[in-house]
C-alpha cells in the first residue's frame, strides 16, 4: 500500500458482506462515526457495494438468510467478507452458543462456508481477530478468532488458511477498531492496492499497526521526564503506575485520533493494548502497572531494560518543576514560562 506506483484500478463492483458473530456491535457503531463522510457512501465511491449488513440493510428474515445462502453457494460474488465478533465453538464443539437467527445454524458454520467463497476475509475488531473479550476468563463459550486463538495461529479457519484472493484473514484488530482502519483497508482492497506485504506478522494492516499508540501522545513530555500520574484524572504519564501500554501497543490512535479529537490516553485512560492478541487477560488489573523491584515489567518496545532504568533515573533527576507538579494535578498548576526574548 505504501510503495505502489501503479495507478489504482476502480472495480466495476466490489461486493461486501458483513456478518456479526459474538461481539457487541461496537465495531459497526465505530464505523458509523467515520469522519465527515457517510461511510457507506464513501465506500460506494470506490466501488464497494454492501450486499448485506445486519445493522444497515433493509432485508430481514428469509430475505436475509437467502442472501447468505446465495453468497455461500457462490451465486452472489463476495469480494470482502467482514466478520465482527468472536466465533463461538461451544458448547462441546457444537457452535450452539450462537445460532444465527432464523436458520438455527451455528454462526461458525455460516462463516466457514462463506469464507471459502469470498475473495478476501476480514476480521473486524479484536474479537473476530483473536477471540478478544469474548474469550476472557475461562472462555466458557470456547470463543476464538477467525484465524487466531489469542496469539496462536489457528482459530476457526486454521493457521494455513488463505482466502481465494491469496491472503490470510486480514486482522483489523482493536476494541473497537477505528472506523478509518476499516474503510481504508476496504478501499485499498477494492482498488487492488493491498497485498501480503501490507500485513504485519499478526496479519494486521501495517498502515496502522506499524505505529505505536505512544506516537503522538499528548503526555509525551511527562513520559520523557518520567513524571507520572498517580490517580485517575492526573495529567502525568500513565505508564509507570496506571497500566498504560501505549509504548508497546501497535496502533495509530494518537496520530489518527478518535471521534474528532480523542484517544484513550487523551481521555485520561491507559492504553490497554486492545489491538494486541490476548489483551483481555493481561494477568494484572487493567488500571495498575505490574512492576518488579519498582520497574514496570512491560518496557517500551525496542528498548533494553538497562537503558530504560538509566534513562528513567536521569530524566527523573532533571524533571522541571512545572512538569513534576502538573503530572499529579488534573489541570496545569504551573504553565510554561513565557520567554522575554525571541525564541531561538
Amino acid at each position: 500500500m505504501n510503495e505502489r506506483t501503479e495507478p489504482f484500478s476502480m472495480p466495476a463492483s466490489f461486493n461486501l458482506l458483513w456478518l456479526q458473530s459474538a461481539g457487541c456491535g461496537g465495531c459497526t457503531m465505530s464505523l458509523l462515526c467515520s469522519g465527515a463522510r457517510e461511510p457507506t457512501a464513501a465506500l460506494e465511491a470506490v466501488g464497494v457495494r454492501i450486499l448485506w449488513h445486519p445493522s444497515l440493510s433493509e432485508e430481514s428474515g428469509e430475505e436475509a438468510t437467502r442472501i447468505l445462502e446465495r453468497c455461500a453457494a457462490g451465486e452472489l460474488a463476495v469480494d470482502a467478507l467482514c466478520v465482527e465478533g468472536a466465533l463461538l465453538r461451544g458448547p462441546r464443539g457444537s457452535g450452539g452458543f450462537h445460532r444465527h437467527a432464523g436458520s438455527g445454524r451455528p454462526m461458525m458454520d455460516w462463516v466457514k462456508e462463506i469464507a471459502q467463497a469470498a475473495r478476501y476475509t476480514l476480521a473486524v475488531g479484536s474479537c473476530a481477530a483473536w477471540g478478544g473479550v469474548a474469550a476472557a476468563g475461562e472462555n466458557v463459550t470456547d470463543a476464538c478468532g477467525l484465524q487466531y486463538e489469542g496469539d496462536q495461529p489457528g482459530g476457526l479457519l486454521g493457521a494455513n488458511w488463505k482466502s481465494r484472493g491469496g491472503l490470510p484473514v486480514i486482522n483489523i484488530a482493536g476494541c473497537p477498531c477505528h472506523p478509518d482502519w476499516v474503510t481504508e483497508t476496504l478501499t485499498a482492497l477494492a482498488l487492488g492496492a493491498f497485498g501480503g506485504k501490507d500485513l504485519d506478522s499478526f496479519n494486521r494492516p501495517r498502515f496502522f499497526a506499524d505505529h505505536l499508540v505512544h506516537h503522538g501522545c499528548t503526555r509525551n513530555e511527562y513520559y520523557e521526564f518520567k513524571a507520572s500520574a498517580h490517580k485517575p484524572s492526573d495529567l502525568g504519564c500513565l505508564m509507570e503506575n496506571l497500566g498504560c501500554k501505549g509504548t508497546q501497543a501497535h496502533a495509530d490512535c494518537n496520530i489518527r485520533l478518535w471521534n474528532g479529537n480523542g484517544s484513550c490516553a487523551r481521555g485520561g485512560a491507559p492504553c490497554i493494548s486492545c489491538t494486541e492478541p490476548g489483551f483481555e487477560e493481561p494477568g494484572h488489573p487493567f488500571h495498575e502497572t505490574p512492576k518488579l523491584a519498582g520497574i514496570p515489567i512491560g518496557l517500551p518496545t525496542d528498548m533494553p531494560k538497562a537503558w530504560f532504568v538509566a534513562l528513567a533515573a536521569l530524566s527523573k533527576s532533571a524533571t522541571p518543576k512545572r512538569v513534576r507538579d502538573n503530572a499529579v494535578a488534573d489541570h496545569q498548576v504551573v504553565v510554561p514560562a513565557v520567554k522575554k526574548t525571541g525564541l531561538k
Binding site: 456479526q20 457487541c24 456491535g25 461496537g26 465495531c27 457503531m29 465505530s30 458509523l32 462515526c33 467515520s34 465527515a36 457517510e38 461511510p39 457507506t40 457512501a41 445486519p54 445493522s55 444497515l56 440493510s57 433493509e58 430481514s60 428474515g61 436475509a64 463461538l88 458448547p91 457444537s94 450452539g96 452458543f97 450462537h98 444465527h100 437467527a101 432464523g102 438455527g104 473479550v133 476472557a136 476468563g137 475461562e138 476494541c175 473497537p176 490517580k231 485517575p232 484524572s233 478518535w258 471521534n259 474528532g260 479529537n261 480523542g262 484517544s263 484513550c264 487523551r266 481521555g267 485520561g268 485512560a269 491507559p270 486492545c274 488489573p285 487493567f286 488500571h287 488534573d330 489541570h331
Partner: protein
Amino acid sequence: MTRIVVGPFNRVEGDLEVTLEVKDGVVAEAWAGSPLYRGFEQILRGKHPMDALMFAPRICGICSVSQSMAAASALADAMGLAPAPNGRITRNLAHAVENVADHFTHFYLFFMPDFARAEYAGRDWHARAAERFRAVRGAAAADIMPARTAFLAALGTLAGKWPHSLAIQPGGVARALEASEKIRLFGLLRDFRRHLETVLFNDALESVAALDSAAALARWAADKPRGDFGAFLGIADDLVLERLGRGVGRFISYGNYPQAESQFLRSGVWDGKLHALDAQAIAEDISHAWLEGEMRHPAQGVTRPQDEKAAGYTWCKAPRLAGLPMETGALARQVVNGHPLARDLVEHGGGNVKSRVVARLLEIAVILPEMEKWVQQLAPGEPFCTQGELPSEASGAGLVEAARGSLGHWLSVADGRIANYQIISPTTWNFSPRDSDGTPGPLEQSLVGTPAGEGNVAVQHVVRSFDPCMVCTVH
C-alpha cells in the same frame, strides 16, 4: 394455525429470532428468542473489581457509556463514594450524548427504513419515504450521518473515544475538562440543536418538549411541515400505528442524570398511577432460558448455561418486578417522569409503536436543552474525580437508564475480587421469555394480535419500536 420463525431481524442491535403462532392472519402467540450467549457474568467472576470498568462497556457497542455508568455506579456504591460535581456533570453529559445519539440513530437507520419497503408501494407517502429513508441509499443518511458524527465528537472530548471509553470512573471522570473544551462542547451541542430544529422537527426543541397532549401533537403536526418527525407522524396516522404493538401497560424507570440533590429524570413505576421503585422486588426467572438455577434477586443471581434444557428457548432471563413483566425505554422514562404528552399517549393507547417512537424523539427535545445548561455548570480547575478505596468485602448496585431503558449492575466483592456480577439490561426486560407462571414477556405480549404473514411488515414495526439491543440482552 401456522408456526413461523422470523429472523434474523435486521436493524436491531444483535441477533433476534421470533417464533410466531399465526391464526387467521394475526399473531396468536409469540416467543422471543436470543440465540447468542456471551457469558460476561461468568467472565467477570474472580476479576479485580475495577476491571469491570474495562469489561462492562464491551457488553454493548451501542450503549457502552450506559454500561460504563452502571459499572462505575455499582463500584461507587460499594466504595461509598460520591463523584465530584464536575465528574457527575461530565458523566451525565457523556451519557446523554450517547442516549440522544442512540434515539437519533434508531429513528433514521433502524426504524424508518421499513416504510421504504415495496410492501407500502400503494401508499401516498411511499415515494417520499423511500427517497428519504431507504436503507443505506436514502437521502436522509447523507444529512444525518455527518451530524451524528459531529455530535459524537463530544465523546472524543468528554471520554477519549466512543464506544468503549475507560474515562468513566466511580468518582467521576479520568479527564478534567479545560475552559476551552467547555466552549467547544457548548458549540457542538448548539450545532446539533440547529440540525434537529431544521431537519428533524422544523421547530424549536422547546416547542416540541412543551407539547402536552396527543391533541397538541396532532395540531402541531398539522400546522406546517414538521421535518422527518412530521413525516413519521403522517405515516403513523395512515397506518394507525397507535393500534399496533400494545404493551403490558406497566412501565419501569430507574431514573437518570443525577443532580446535586435528585435525578433529572425520576425513578418509579407507572401502571396508570405512579409508584416508588422497589429495586428489592426485582427478580430474574430462568424457567424458559437455557440456564440453570431458580428465580433470584440479581444481587444473588447465578448464571450457568445449560443448553439442553427442554423448556428453554432463549439465552435471555426473564426479569420481573414483584412477579410482573415491565416495559422499559424512553416512553417508560417520560411517563414515569410525568411528561404530559407521554402520559396522555399512554392513557389513550398504552405503549404502542407510535407512542414509543414519539417518546424517543420527545426525549431528544427534552434532554438537549438540559445538556446545554449542564455544560455551563462545569467549573474547570475544580476536581473532576474523587478517589476512594474499595473494601475487600463489599457489595453495590448501579441503576441507570440506557437509551433503551432500565439497566442495572449488581456487584459483590469478596477477598478483593468480584464474587458475583449480574446485569439486567433494558432488552432483557422487554424481550424476556415466559416466566414460570407462563406469563409472556413484554414483546411477546405486544405481538399478539399483530397482522403477520406474507408481505406484512407489522411484526417488524412492533419489534423495532422497542429499539431492541440483543447484544446487551445476551451479555
